[in-house]
Every structure is written in structure tokens, then in C-alpha cells.
């Protein structure tokens, strides 16, 4: 009897120990009896009891769980191959259903893989790339004042794809995500799963498309660079043109002003002379006489040949001493 007591105590302790289990704050538990779920799921955390050995504890996470898709290549509506990487957050809201249909997380994730994968493909194939990349409709991008000049807006109006402009979109990333989300959320409900959100994590050009994209970017940049150079040359030419224009203007203005002033001077002088010489006929005559005399020394030079008549006033006395004064009235 004495010897059996510790053994019985140990057995009892073991049974008791097995009858208790803890539920974590992040857990919910489904008790199964020989594999068959019994009772309502335990969602309250704490120390709980069960039938020892007969009932098993199946712990199911209560938290928001992650699903991270692996990137896969798929074509868009405009036939561009892109690598899409999606993530989702989900939660087990009906543990019993979940337990019956999926039993563990691994199979849940693989269902999510299938469902989200195909919904993503559907949605991506229905939309052009730009709809998946952009979010806000009609967003007006900031313009780099040095990059985007008036030419850009002019080009955009012509319908050309201008640098620094955004193509208008109809739906945008958020709506595409919502489409995938709605379709998938409906499908996973039967598993006792609530899909909380899905989002595009990464969208990238497929490796084979990438070089072409780079080429396009390079050509786009080259075009901008070329425009800068030509703008520089053009502006320089404009400045040189201005220079030439201003120079001509300045010089011609100077010429005009100079001639005006000189003319004024000449006119003033002429006026002064005329006033003086025209004061009476005698003065005019006297002026003519004296001015002509003044001109002689300049006209008659050393190598001039003078043929003088003895009849002239100067030499008339060579032939005769004019007894009478010659004809000057």
C-alpha cells in the first residue's frame, strides 16, 4: 500500500497535467477527440482543461498572417512581360472550418498561392502596365524648371509623349488591387479565412524587356540633352543677334545724331554769315570781294601758270601810267 501510493500519485499528477493546457494570446484551439473536433473553438487565452489523452489540442494562429507570393512573370494587356510580386495578409476567422478544410497552414498557403496567383494573372492581363504602376488619376507631376520647358507642354498638347509628363490612366494600381482582392476574398471564405488585404509588392520589367526599356530611357535622355545643346546654341545665336541689332542701332543712332548736330552747327553758321553778309547789298558785294581775295592764295600756288593781260588792273601801269583813274565808278 505504501509502495503504491507514490505510483498512484505520479499517475494522477500525469493525468492532471495532461488535462490542462494553455492557450496563448495569439492562439485559438480546437479540441479533437480521436481526430473529430469537439465543442466550440477556444479563443480565450489562459489555462484550460480537457479530457486527458482522449482529447488533443490543435492550436491555430489567431493573428494576422503573412502570405508572400513568389515573383512570377506575366503579360499585361499591352503584351509587356512583367515580374509581379504580391503579398497578402489574412486571418483565420472560422477555425473550425479552417481546420476541417485545410488542417494546417501549409495547405492554406498553397491554396492562397493558387487563388491569388490566378486572380493576379487575370487582373494583370486585363490591364495595361501603366494602370498597374500608377495610382492617382490625372496627377500633375512636378516639373523640373530646368528640364521641362515650354516645349514639353507644347508637345503634350500635340499628343506626343513628352518628357516629364504622365499619361492619364483610367483605374490605377489601387483599383486593380481591389479587383484581385475582391475576387480572391470571396474564394477563400469557404476555408474559414478572411483575406484582409492584398498589395503589389514589386512590379518590375522582365529581364528580357529590361534592355529595351533602358534603350528607351537612354534615347529619351539623349533627346533632352540634345535639346539643351540646341537651346544653348539657339539662345547664344539670339544673344549674338541682339548684339548685332543693338550695335547697328547704337551706331546708326550715333551717326544720325552726329549728322543732326553737325547740320545744326553748319546751319547756325550759315545763318550767322548770311545775316551779316546780307545786311545790305553793299555788304554782300564787299563780302564777295574780300572772300574772293582770300581765296586767291589758296588757289594760286607755286606751280600755277598765270597769264596776265596788261589790261588787268595790276599791270595796266606797265604800259602806261594811267593819267586818269581807270574805270572804277
Amino acid at each position: 500500500m505504501n509502495r503504491l501510493l507514490p505510483i498512484a500519485a505520479a499517475l494522477l499528477a500525469f493525468l492532471l497535467f495532461n488535462a490542462f493546457y494553455t492557450v496563448g494570446e495569439a492562439q485559438q484551439v480546437i479540441l479533437t477527440q480521436f481526430g473529430k473536433p469537439v465543442g466550440a473553438p477556444v479563443t480565450e487565452a489562459g489555462l484550460k482543461m480537457k479530457l486527458p489523452f482522449i482529447q488533443d489540442v490543435n492550436r491555430i494562429d489567431k493573428r494576422i498572417l503573412e502570405w508572400d507570393g513568389s515573383p512570377s512573370d506575366m503579360p499585361t494587356k499591352d503584351k509587356l512581360y512583367i515580374a509581379v510580386d504580391l503579398f497578402a495578409r489574412w486571418r483565420i476567422t472560422d477555425p473550425l472550418q479552417y481546420f476541417l478544410r485545410l488542417r494546417d497552414e501549409r495547405s492554406a498557403l498553397s491554396r492562397l498561392d493558387d487563388i491569388l496567383g490566378s486572380e493576379t494573372r487575370n487582373a494583370v492581363a486585363k490591364h495595361e502596365l501603366i494602370e498597374i504602376i500608377r495610382t492617382t488619376k490625372d496627377r500633375i507631376p512636378l516639373q523640373d524648371s530646368t528640364l521641362g520647358e515650354s516645349q514639353d507642354t507644347a508637345d503634350a498638347q500635340d499628343g506626343n509623349k513628352a518628357v516629364g509628363a504622365l499619361v492619364p490612366i483610367h483605374k490605377g494600381r489601387e483599383q486593380v488591387e481591389q479587383e484581385i482582392f475582391k475576387a480572391a476574398a470571396e474564394k477563400v471564405k469557404v476555408f474559414g479565412i478572411e483575406l484582409l488585404d492584398i498589395r503589389f509588392k514589386r512590379i518590375n520589367y522582365n529581364a528580357s524587356v529590361q534592355p529595351k526599356i533602358f534603350e528607351r530611357m537612354i534615347s529619351e535622355r539623349r533627346q533632352i540633352a540634345e535639346r539643351f545643346r540646341s537651346e544653348g546654341n539657339g539662345e547664344a545665336a539670339r544673344i549674338r543677334g541682339n548684339m548685332s541689332r543693338d550695335l547697328n542701332r547704337i551706331q546708326s543712332e550715333a551717326y544720325r545724331r552726329v549728322e543732326e548736330i553737325r547740320g545744326e552747327g553748319d546751319a547756325k553758321a550759315a545763318e550767322i554769315y548770311a545775316n551779316a553778309y546780307n545786311q545790305n547789298p553793299e555788304a554782300a558785294h564787299f563780302y564777295e570781294f574780300t572772300r574772293t581775295l582770300e581765296a586767291y592764295p589758296a588757289i594760286v600756288t607755286e606751280d600755277s601758270t598765270m597769264v596776265l593781260s596788261t589790261d588787268s588792273d595790276l599791270f595796266k601801269f606797265l604800259k602806261a601810267t594811267g593819267s586818269k583813274p581807270s574805270g572804277q565808278p
Binding site: E25, A26, A45, L47, R63, I64, E66, D68, F87, T135, P141, L142, Q143, D144, V163, G164, A165, L166, E174, D197, F200, K201, R202, I203, N204, Q210, F214, I218, R221, A225, E226, F228, R229, M243, L247, I250, Q251, Y255, V258, I261, R262, K268, A269, Y277, F286, Y287, F289, T290, Y296, P297, V300, T305, M306, V307, L308, S309, T310, D311, F315, L318
Partner: protein
């Protein structure tokens, strides 16, 4: 056979003597595992039998050992950081960087160009309960959210905005959206800052981006050179213009003054002339003749009655000037008679 060995075991002094070390060790283990310390930047979350019980502030605390109480220490006051596209070595936060930084940086911009974006998210654990019990892997979730939001924001912008002018806007918009999602997912973190680090065009394209910069500089240079030419020529021309105008003004003044001088002289002489016109006239004439005649080397004086001057003109230069010859020579200087 075992009966004889039992009684000595049950003797009190011997049992106490043998059990004491065991109990001491046991007691030591119990004490050792029933206290814990919380660092000053952290808070401890205590769970009893899995159930959330309390939060403990920094300091020394006690708990029930043997798995009854479980303590999780969370650094709530520490600024945590996640790096995208690069990694700073030596971090204690396992979520600080990923093992595929290249894939994180590659993004498609709103004008369908590619860009490489590196950024940092600074965050804190604001609600320990949510952080621990509402989301599994909150760190990884934040990474996913951050990547997704950054791509969404970059996807709405042109490559020029992403690389140069729009950085600030991207940071603030990404921060707002990340915080919104963190709240939606009950992550229990508050995001303090989103900082963009290096943003580059993809390596094969970088040269052409540099080319644009160079072209920009070249444009400035060309314009500056033209301006230099302009500035070299135009102010000089303005000065020269003023110079010419001033010279002309000088000319005008000179002409006027000279005219006035001439007139004054004329008037003075004329006043005298009027007193004795004939004599003055003759005097002036003769004075002039006297002045000019000596300089003239060829002088031919002909008689007005003689005909045919030509033979005589062939004479030597120094021929006699006073030879009275027949000629029809017109004297060139004949003062006008009033």
C-alpha cells in the same frame, strides 16, 4: 531485501543532511528564474498561462517560474530602423535589412522608366499588445508594406521627380500611406520617418543622365559666352556713340563760334570799308596780289592787243615774264565789279 535499507534512510538527521543541497539548488533555481529585469528603453509583457496579464516598466520584477509566467521584452522606446536596398552592418534588429537588396531597389516610375531607390524607415513599437498578439511577423509585414507603398508612390511620379525634384513629396506621402497600412494591419508600430537615400537611374542608363547634366552645363556655357560677347561689344559701342555725339557737339560749337568770329571781323572791316570803299578795295586787291604773285613761278603777261599767245607759252619756265606779247589771254582773276 530492500527492507533493511529503508529504515536508515528515514532517520531524520540523515535525510535532512542529504536533502539540504538538493533543496538549496532547487530554491536557487526557483529564485533565479523568478526575477527578471527590464532595460530602460523597453517594456516587459507578462503572460500567465499564455494569457496577457500586464506590462512591466523598466526595473527589477518577479514572476512565477516554471513556464507559468512568460515574459517578452520589447524595446518600445528604441528607434528601430529598416533599410531597403542597402544594409548597414552590425545591426541587432533582424528586420533591419533583407538578403536581396537589389530586388528591393528596382522600381518602375509613372512614366514607365526604371529607377533604383534606396530608403530607410524609422519606426517604434507603440502598442506592445498589438505588436505581439495581433500580427505575426510584424517586422516582415512592415517591410512588405514599406516596399509596396514606396512602389505605389514612385509609380505615380515621373523619373525626374523621383530622382531630383520630388523627393520630399515622396517621403511625406510614403510616410502617410505606411502609417495608414500599419494601423489597418494592427501592427502596433508607429512610423516616424521615411527617408530616401540614393536614388539612381539604372546603371546602363546613368551615362545618359549624366549626359543631360553635361548638356545643361554646356547650354549655360554657350549662353554665357554669347553674353560675354554681347557685354564686350555693346557698352563699348554705347560709349563710342557718346563720343561721336560729343565730338559733333564740339563741331557745332566750333562752327558757330567761328562764324561769329568771321562775322565780327567782317563787320569791323566792312565798317571801315564803308567810309572809303574805293581805296580800301584797291588796297585789299593789291595787297592780295602782292602776296600771291611772288610764289607763282610761271607768269605770262600779254598785251591785250596782241593775238596768238600759244607760241610764247612754249618758252622756258623762267622766260621773261615781262615780255609784252600779243595774246588773247583772259586774266583768271578779275574781281567783280559792283
Amino acid at each position: 531485501m530492500k527492507l533493511p535499507s529503508l529504515p536508515p534512510l528515514r532517520t531524520p538527521p540523515a535525510r535532512a543532511f542529504r536533502a539540504t543541497p538538493v533543496i538549496l539548488v532547487l530554491l536557487a533555481v526557483v529564485i533565479w528564474s523568478s526575477w527578471y529585469t527590464v532595460p530602460s528603453d523597453s517594456v516587459a509583457v507578462l503572460q500567465r498561462f499564455g494569457k496577457y496579464r500586464s506590462e512591466a516598466p523598466p526595473g527589477l520584477h518577479f514572476k512565477i517560474p516554471f513556464g507559468v509566467d512568460a515574459v517578452t521584452i520589447l524595446p518600445v522606446k528604441r528607434q528601430l530602423k529598416q533599410e531597403f536596398g542597402f544594409s548597414t552592418p552590425g545591426s541587432s534588429n533582424p528586420d533591419q535589412f533583407s538578403d536581396e537588396p537589389e530586388a528591393e531597389t528596382r522600381m518602375v516610375t509613372g512614366d514607365l522608366n526604371a529607377a533604383l531607390v534606396e530608403w530607410v524607415v524609422q519606426y517604434r513599437i507603440s502598442e506592445p499588445f498589438k505588436y505581439l498578439f495581433d500580427v505575426r511577423e510584424p517586422g516582415a509585414t512592415l517591410r512588405d508594406v514599406s516596399e509596396s507603398v514606396m512602389r505605389e508612390v514612385v509609380g505615380d511620379r515621373t523619373v525626374d521627380e523621383v530622382i531630383t525634384i520630388g523627393r520630399q513629396e515622396i517621403e511625406s506621402e510614403a510616410l502617410a500611406k505606411m502609417q495608414q497600412l500599419a494601423t489597418k494591419y494592427n501592427m502596433g508600430v508607429s512610423i516616424d520617418q521615411v527617408q530616401l537615400k540614393n536614388i539612381n537611374p539604372p546603371t546602363p542608363v546613368q551615362d545618359s543622365f549624366n549626359e543631360v547634366n553635361q548638356a545643361q552645363q554646356e547650354k549655360e556655357r554657350l549662353i554665357n559666352e554669347a553674353r560675354r560677347d554681347y557685354n564686350r561689344v555693346i557698352p563699348l559701342a554705347e560709349g563710342e556713340k557718346d563720343q561721336r555725339i560729343r565730338e559733333a557737339e564740339g563741331y557745332r560749337l566750333k562752327r558757330t563760334n567761328e562764324a561769329e568770329g568771321d562775322v565780327a571781323r567782317f563787320n569791323a572791316v566792312f565798317a571801315q570799308y564803308q567810309k572809303a570803299p574805293d581805296v580800301t578795295r584797291r588796297r585789299l586787291y593789291l595787297e592780295t596780289m602782292q602776296q600771291i604773285m611772288p610764289a607763282v613761278q610761271n607768269k605770262v603777261i600779254v598785251d591785250e592787243n596782241m593775238q596768238g599767245i600759244l607760241p610764247l607759252l612754249n618758252l622756258d619756265k623762267k622766260a621773261l615774264p615781262a615780255k609784252p606779247q600779243a595774246a588773247a589771254g583772259q586774266e583768271p582773276q578779275q574781281e567783280a565789279t559792283p
